[in-house]
């Protein structure tokens, strides 16, 4: 039977078991929206800005093992998605973005709402396609899902001219796809894995350092098994939180610019680093020369060969799917593995570093943001999905909310995109309808996608917005305080809206919390009495609170500034 290109798009989504798309209509996707209207298998969430559609699709992926989908119109619809696509790309999030395009016979003529979608998105996608023939439509969409979700995942854009969505064609959805140019490695090299096990056995001061790759490849269980067998300390990157249970005694906290004293020291002084699904980025290892001063051996497991030996020389590269490689290591260890007795002394050293209690903070008469995070953790029983924006509040959430499970910490690590928090909450709820979701944000970030309060009303997303309101672009202010002699250039936010009234104007519940003793009761009220409501909780916090420990830009990982130094 012949069906239209628009119907083919929807049938493809159904074949991929996509249960919802986030989108915004416009001229070039009208046929697709019409096809969407005539079925009810694929739900559509109408956002208020295309950027939010992509963020939501991104969080749908992050919080589940499925591929998020966004649908937008040509021209401005596409340009509005670029921040969202780049955000997903930097964190390797599988996602398919369907974009309308002007009719193919108009392309290149500066037609109304034309833009070079493939050109604009090329540097921030894993791959993109312009469909030129309706006969290629189904196979292109199949390829898009395949590419997005295999190997090192990433966003894929499929640009579809309007005339193609009107043309008629047989629908035939390929079951599998073969591409001679795209065959990601899955199995790790056994010889390398054997070498790795040997080195792990010789390690006297080992550390397991893991990143977002563990989350993306669903390897948390395998990692925990391996770490327990080895009895080595484990540190996570910002993107890796939840990949290893934060309440486990072998967990030494997040590392990097705002990592714990023990994690950064362990990383620096380790004689063997087992890096898994992490990429030694600049926010993690600090100054690379300083990091290079210590002699150590590095084992690196990653699906992406280009992540290996990119910034830090690796002794044993293992390219492969993380859970499979870990299983192989565990299997080899079962043949008689002995952790070096020296590791006991290493643990003593680590415990001494832990004794510094680098996340300790002083209470003040104001609400301390760290305190709000601790209470949020208590009140939600550590079970919530926490989305966050970008700034100090993000770091406080990462440091003080103890993630025991993967895919619960949803934030923009690579691109550091302010504004993601609220749409991320929407995406999480579409993938996990019964979840408790809190969006930890700041008064700066929340205003970057504030329009989504309207979407949340329409679909009844009961997100709890934890606005750590310091009246400042806090993270900017912190740098200015520390490195620019307190010249607070443009980091002070005046004329803030009354967030309670704003929430109410959108039909939500608003709360303003100003005293430390009100923090916990307010949170309890929000999560019980207002369980099914979106609650905008405006916490007026100590405007001077800073994030510690801190490794200043250009400094070495062990050259941390601690709260106690100030």
């Amino acid at each position: 039977m012949m069906i239209s290109g628009a119907e083919i798009v929807i049938r493809c989504l159904q074949e991929e078991k996509v249960d919802c798309v986030f989108g915004y209509p416009g001229g070039s996707v009208l046929h697709i929206y019409d096809a969407l209207f005539k079925q009810d298998q694929v739900k559509h969430i109408l956002v208020r800005h295309e950027q939010a559609a992509v963020h939501a699709a991104d969080a749908y992926s992050r919080s589940s093992q499925r591929v998020g989908v966004a649908l937008v119109t040509s021209g401005p619809g596409v340009t509005n998605t670029v921040t969202g696509i780049a955000t997903a790309y930097m964190d390797s999030i599988p996602m398919v973005v369907l974009t309308g395009q002007v009719p193919s016979f108009y392309i290149g003529q500066d037609a109304f709402q034309e833009c070079d979608t493939v050109g604009i998105t090329r540097p921030c996608v894993k791959h993109n396609f312009l469909v030129k023939d309706v006969k290629d439509l189904a196979v292109t969409i199949k390829k898009a899902f395949h590419i997005a979700s295999t190997g090192r995942p990433g966003p894929v854009v499929v640009d579809i001219p309007k005339d193609i969505t009107a043309q008629m064609c047989e629908f035939d959805y390929p079951k599998t796809i073969q591409m001679r140019s795209y065959n990601p490695v899955v199995k790790g090299h056994l010889g390398q894995i054997k070498k790795a096990v040997q080195i792990l056995q010789e390690a006297k001061r080992p550390v397991i350092y893991t990143g977002g790759g563990v989350i993306l490849s669903d390897a948390a269980e395998q990692l925990t098994k391996l770490a327990h067998k080895l009895n080595f300390p484990v540190t996570n990157t910002l993107m890796g939180l939840g990949g290893y249970p934060a309440t486990d005694k072998q967990f030494i906290g997040m590392l990097g610019m705002h990592g714990t004293f023990e994690a950064n020291n362990a990383m620096h002084y380790a004689d063997v680093i087992l890096a898994i699904g992490a990429r030694f980025d600049d926010r993690v290892i600090g100054n690379p020369e300083h990091f290079g001063e210590e002699k150590r051996r590095v084992i690196h497991i990653d699906i992406d060969p280009s992540s290996i030996s990119k910034r830090v020389k690796v002794d044993v590269p293992i390219v492969g799917n993380v859970p499979d490689v870990i299983e192989e290591i565990v299997k080899l260890m079962d043949g008689g593995f002995k952790t070096d007795p020296e590791v006991a002394n290493w643990w003593k050293q680590i415990d001494e570093w832990r004794g510094r209690d680098s996340l300790r903070y002083k209470q003040s008469e104001h609400i301390m943001p760290q305190f709000v995070m601790e209470k949020l953790y208590e009140v939600t029983g550590g079970n919530a999905f926490i989305t966050s924006d970008v700034g100090q509040h993000q770091m406080f959430a990462a440091q003080y909310y103890k993630f025991d499970k993967p895919r619960r910490w949803i934030n923009s690590g690579g691109l550091g995109t302010m504004g993601v928090g609220l749409p991320y909450g929407m995406g999480v709820l579409m993938a996990n309808p019964d979840a408790q979701v809190a969006c930890v944000t700041g008064e700066g970030s929340i205003q970057m996608c504030i329009q989504e309060l309207s979407t949340c009303k329409q679909y009844g997303f009961p997100i709890k917005i934890i606005n750590l309101n310091n009246g400042m672009l806090g993270m900017v202010r912190q740098w200015q305080e520390m490195f620019y002699s307190k010249r607070y250039s443009q980091s002070y936010v005046t004329s803030l809206p009354d967030f309670v009234k704003l929430a109410e104007a959108y039909g939500h519940v608003g709360m303003k919390i100003e005293k430390p003793e009100d923090v916990e009761p307010a949170l309890r009220k929000a999560f019980t009495e207002h369980k099914d409501d979106l609650v905008f909780m405006d916490f007026i916090i100590d405007p001077g609170a800073n994030v510690f420990p801190m490794v200043a830009a250009g400094k070495g990982l062990t050259e941390m500034i601690l709260a106690e130094d100030i």
Partner: protein
């Protein structure tokens, strides 16, 4: 270090810009780039002349391999290979220079492929260094125009780049 990277890539529209974009986005050098379809019209072969340390070259090949349209990548200069470049050079050829130009072309085994009363177009093929020497050997004032294809190369003997 100078390196010649050979790439087999799907002959899709936009494939070239993916490669060029990668080089500019990551700050890699392109000294020359040539591309044309192979005997199999669905595949193009690209030759890029670049330079960089071993670490940079390792990243270049890894990043190229990551491009979804790229089928194969080799660093030709890692082993025995031959390389050639073609140049067309238009020179002033009047008076006594006319004979001199003809002589120079012969010495360098160039061919004169276009003749007017006052100009020659000389075609010259060879290693890039030979083309450089030819240019250096001519009186700069007599060179009207040059165009070079950039390097293309192929492995010697059994080194074969094919799908």
């Amino acid at each position: 270090m100078r390196h010649i990277i050979s790439i087999l890539i799907e002959n899709e529209s936009g494939a070239l810009s993916r490669v060029a974009g990668l080089f500019s986005a990551r700050g890699y050098n392109i000294e020359s780039l040539t591309v044309a379809p192979t005997e199999d019209p669905s595949l193009s072969r690209m030759t890029i002349l670049t330079s960089g340390s071993d670490e940079v070259l390792e990243q270049i090949t890894k990043q190229l391999n990551k491009l979804v349209d790229v089928v194969k990548v080799v660093d030709l200069s890692e082993a025995a290979h031959v390389e050639r470049e073609l140049m067309l050079i238009k020179v002033r050829a009047t008076g006594k220079d006319r004979e001199e130009m003809k002589r120079m072309a012969d010495i360098f085994r160039g061919r004169i492929i276009d003749v007017t009363e006052s100009t020659y177009v000389i075609e010259l093929t060879g290693a890039s260094s030979k083309l450089d020497s030819f240019i250096a050997a001519l009186d700069a004032g007599l060179i009207l125009e040059t165009v070079r294809t950039g390097v293309c190369g192929i492995g010697r003997g059994d080194r074969i780049l094919k799908v």
